[in-house]
């Protein structure tokens, strides 16, 4: 099962990188989303997959009687998902505002901050 998920993670990250290499903002956003989910899945797999019970210690005992799932990666992913969601929503709004203001969603055409035809610096003082 670990192996299958490892392949899935690889596919997610490859797809994310492929989409990020595009010039269109919407594709880049999709790329960020897929890449982020690939990374979350990777952390999940890194905690080792088990079919055991949830990590809850029964009352009266100091530790669970049998093997339990590793709770730490789940806590890590939960944090990463929330953060990734916040970042993605900001970038989504940013891309929309940039499209409205700059009238383009092609990063090659976004040259306002870095003019393509900037003149050379003067040679004299």
């Amino acid at each position: 099962m670990d192996l299958v998920l490892a392949v899935v993670v690889g596919l997610f990250i490859a797809l994310g990188v492929y989409l990020l290499l595009s010039r269109a903002l919407i594709r880049m956003l999709m790329g960020m989303l897929v890449l982020g989910n690939g990374v979350n899945l990777l952390i999940f797999t890194a905690g080792r997959l088990t079919r055991e019970v949830a990590p809850i210690v029964p009352p009266g005992l100091e530790q669970a009687p049998g093997a339990i799932a590793n709770p730490l990666p789940q806590a890590l992913i939960l944090t990463a998902i929330v953060i990734g969601f916040a970042m993605f929503s900001f970038l989504l709004v940013l891309a929309y505002r940039a499209y409205q203001t700059l009238d383009c969603d092609d990063t090659d055409e976004m040259r306002l901050a870095e003019p393509a035809d900037a003149p050379n610096p003067p040679l004299s003082y």
Partner: protein, 512 residues
């Protein structure tokens, strides 16, 4: 059960490690609620930052006397609970960040108008400070990722404050590439956890040597890429000159002083302290990155006419110098890198603040249309020249000492690596001097050209005072460097031999 509770209780004095963060986060929340009244949030932000500075001075003094201080959250024993561990570098960088933020708050107050009303500027600045301070003080890699994201989301808010087309253009490039960098960092974290099963920094130092070296090398390479992107080191630096000049001067000064430095600090800590064996393998790559950044940074500034974009290239050159310290990794080199980060936080912020004042008094952003400012504003020209000399590393200013430490370490190291780093450091100083004085001559010395309007001096005592305070600080530390050098030596000793750091966290027994 009872022993567990007893061993993990946190001493009251140890809370000082998280106090600056807690204050900044509470301050940010309050400032967000009170954002209808800019005057109140300004005073609140001042209060919070001053309190954070007081805590950090106390923390730094305690570390100076007793060594690294650590606390672990929530009654969980160290490798499981989230640790906050401050050593001298972390605490003094956090202190520098707070001081810089305080002065930028004053500067921004002079720039802000009633129309800026409820944009949440102060809340975002405090949140940014919390993220930066957290990154400097945390002792857990996943927690470092969280603080990176706190810093990132606050900087997203700040970079679009004002909402001009130029800012959206810059923010798209800044946003995507920085989010990508933190995602790569998270990827490396997942792999590291899967390999050695821990994310506590002190625990990683103990467990990494026994893990599969090939896997650890791949992880370290990913970390180098992620932190290199955050720090804007050479091949992945393109976002910085594309975005740092777009927001108002106060905000870009804050970014230049704080954000890239956190990236370098994270690279320093993760490569030199956490995975030292792997750093040796990656050494040629790090040296190449350092040399390329050091030489191409000032060359970029030389070819740039936009004032604040040129400053962005100086930031990149400085990042190269700090990476030179990581490539050397002897106690002298680490001390040099630490001192350089400290210097760069103060100097780069001041440089952007002064650039903002130049833009204000000439009404231009391009050096081709500026000129003759010397006649109308002598203090401005003096401050700018002093800062250019400090960035280049001319004695006796602040920038000289870290470069001296780095060159000493390079010479001591010898070989092709040490020699080429020393040559690059000297070239960086010369090129920075040429580019900086050239800009100075264009802006201040040259007669006003036909295209530019005649500069008129404007009021703004608060702006002058804030910028002059940082410049004064840079000159004073440069003139009396004993404190800086002793601090660099002590901080570097703790990074080169992390025994005291591990003992502070409480994992001394588990180290090999």
């Amino acid at each position: 059960m009872e022993e567990l509770v007893q061993t993990s209780a946190v001493a009251t004095a140890d809370w000082i490690v998280v106090l600056p963060l807690v204050l900044a986060l509470i301050g940010a929340a309050l400032a967000l609620m009170l954002r209808n009244n800019g005057r109140v949030t300004f005073l609140l932000a001042l209060l919070v930052v001053v309190a954070a500075i007081a805590c950090e001075i106390g923390l730094a003094l305690r570390i100076w006397q007793e060594g690294p201080v650590s606390m672990t959250m929530g009654n969980w024993l160290p490798p499981f609970g989230i640790s906050f561990t401050a050593d001298l570098f972390g605490a003094s960088f956090a202190l520098a960040a707070s001081v810089v933020t305080l002065l930028v708050l004053f500067y921004a107050e002079a720039d802000r108008s009633a129309a800026d009303g409820r944009d949440g500027f102060h809340a975002l600045v405090l949140l940014l400070l919390a993220g930066v301070t957290g990154s400097f003080l945390t002792g857990d890699l996943f927690n470092l990722y969280v603080w990176f994201e706190v810093m990132l989301i606050a900087s997203f808010g700040l970079i679009v404050t004002g909402g001009s087309a130029l800012q959206f253009d810059g923010a798209v490039k800044y946003g995507f590439l920085n989010f990508l960098a933190t995602t790569l960092f998270l990827l490396a974290l997942g792999l590291l956890y899967g390999t050695i099963g821990t994310l506590n920094m002190a625990d990683i130092i103990g467990k990494a040597p026994s893990a599969n070296p090939a896997v650890i090398t791949a992880i370290a390479a990913l970390l180098l890429l992620a932190f290199g992107m955050k720090a804007a080191a050479f091949p992945v630096n393109a976002w910085l000159p594309a975005s740092y000049h777009t927001p108002p001067a106060a905000i870009s000064a804050l970014f230049a002083g704080l954000l890239t430095k956190v990236g370098v600090y994270a690279a320093l800590r993760s490569l030199v302290v956490l995975l030292p064996a792997t750093r040796d393998i990656l050494e040629p790559v790090i040296a190449l990155v350092a040399i390329a950044s050091m030489i191409l940074g000032p060359l970029g500034a030389l070819g740039e006419t936009h004032l604040r974009r040129a400053m962005g290239f100086f930031v990149i050159g400085g990042i190269g110098a700090a990476f030179a310290g990581i490539a050397l990794a002897t106690p002298g080199g680490i001390g040099g890198a630490g001192a350089y980060i400290f210097h760069s936080m103060l100097t780069m912020t001041a440089l952007y603040l002064v650039s903002g004042m130049i833009e204000r008094s000439t009404g231009q952003v391009d050096t081709r249309h500026m000129g003759g400012l010397y006649a109308s504003s002598a203090p401005l020209s003096i401050m700018f020249l002093v800062l250019v000399l400090a960035v280049a590393g001319v004695p006796p200013l602040l920038g000289f000492w870290p470069k001296l430490l780095l060159i000493e370490a390079g010479v001591a190291q010898g070989g092709w690596l040490g020699t080429s780093l020393v040559v690059a450091l000297v070239l960086n100083a010369v090129l920075t001097l040429i580019a900086g004085t050239r800009i100075w001559a264009h802006v201040f010395w040259r007669q006003t050209t036909g295209t530019g309007k005649v500069p008129a001096p404007r009021r703004g005592l608060l702006r002058y005072a804030a910028a002059a305070a940082i410049v004064g600080l840079a000159v004073a530390v440069g003139l009396w460097p004993d404190f800086l050098l002793a601090g660099a030596r002590m901080g570097a000793a703790d990074l080169a031999d992390p025994a005291r750091y591990i003992a502070a966290v409480g994992l001394a027994g588990s180290a090999p």
